[in-house]
Amino acid sequence: MRFVRPETLEEAATLLGQESGVTRIISGGTDVMVQMRSGLVAPDLVVDLKHLTGLRSITPEAGGFRIGAAVSGAQLGEHEGVCALWPGVVEGVQLIGSTQVQGRATMVGNLCNGSPAADAVPGLVAADATVRIMGPNGSRDCPVAEIPAGPGRTTLGKGEFVTSVFLPARPERSGDAYLRFTPRTEMDIAVAAAAVSLTVDAKGVVTAARVALGAVAPTVMLVPEAAAAIIGTTLDDAAQAALAAAASAACNPIDDKRGTIEFRTRVAGVLARRAALIALARAGGQN
């Protein structure tokens, strides 16, 4: 195995693009190190990008924030601006692991590791966040929702890597929230999870919504039917029931000792409903 700290993003792209063996980027290392140790992966090349300009900064941009790919959960949680604008995204990130893991783990590592149960990803998908990708052919932007391709897989091409996440501006009276179910309160992996981002008008009617589910399909997924169930409503009881039903209907989970298909399907609906109510309260609306 080789360990390299490139001087520039271009050098990193060339290096990763030309490597014929297995490559990994070490951001927080909280997945990579565990996988290397367990023998799950034996990389030929490990690239560290954390020292490169912008990779560790959070910068206001167009009313939102651009967050460097190497920003840790702890650093994100200390940023008042991001916490105020996208509390649901931050609470998803901060559910990852322990204090120690938070000191290192990144949203981008969580996304690119490709776990269907990744806690940062539903919030990012609900937020309609995009990632900036660098690669041998230059830079491009892509919605977070289009990155996961299946358990442990992404749509990133050969030599491509993420340099930042962009969380957009949002209209007044907007809120978001993330909830997961785990058997333990700490240090556990989601059995089902839901994130909701919504905007209400002055009368409290939902004018826009995005609903994303985690751990109930091969990838984190956006569920437009669940969003449609609440747009145009005040999240009254009927809308809540329709939201839960649409979320459950979209589930295609695994069946294992941590959660049966029936359980995961039902709980995903419940979590979507509860997350929507928290998002509504954060948006200043009432049901």
Binding site: F3, D48, G97, S98, T99, Q100, G103, R104, M187
Partner: protein
């Protein structure tokens, strides 16, 4: 495998070492720098026995590559006492008998100090959540929590 030369700062002093590209910071500290305070309980980020501070952040040194320590500051349990003068947390762990085999203790002290440095007056719930990534297989959690709460009180009065 090509070895890597790393220049870093450990407990305030400049330190240099040579390590393998896949060697963890925990192995470097223990096997190359002779700092055996940080322990390996699991090697997978679950137990916190290897806790150290990296550029002022609490991390599991088993999840950091030695090579990543280039140019950063590392603070370990060995830097907690000032000479023979124990840190209030260390004294409190002795007073409360908050350790049995002691394998988890260095990690818990490093983690607890990180908490008290940022929050001198934590609630018991805050202490318990902050230390959720530090496992004690002798299961002496209650005494550990009380020792931390008590040390916080002593430090606030100082």
């Amino acid at each position: 495998m090509k070895t890597i030369h790393v220049s870093t700062t450990v407990n305030g002093d400049a330190a240099e070492f040579i390590c393998g590209p896949d060697e963890s910071l925990l192995d470097v500290l223990r096997n190359r720098l002779g700092l055996t305070g940080a322990k390996e309980g699991c090697g997978t980020g679950d137990c916190g026995a290897c806790s150290v501070m990296l550029d002022g952040r609490l991390v599991c040194s088993c999840l950091v590559l030695g090579a990543e320590a280039e140019g950063v500051t590392v603070d370990t349990i060995e830097g907690l006492a000032e000479g023979d003068h124990l840190h209030p947390l260390q004294q409190s762990f002795i007073d409360h008998a908050a350790l049995q085999c002691g394998v988890c203790t260095p990690g818990i002290l490093v983690a607890a100090k990180a908490l008290l440095d940022r929050n001198p007056d934590p609630t018991e719930t805050e202490v318990r959540y902050w230390l959720a990534g530090n496992l004690c297989r002798c299961t002496g959690y209650d005494k550990i929590i009380h020792a931390v709460m008590d040390a916080a009180k002593t430090m606030r009065a100082a």
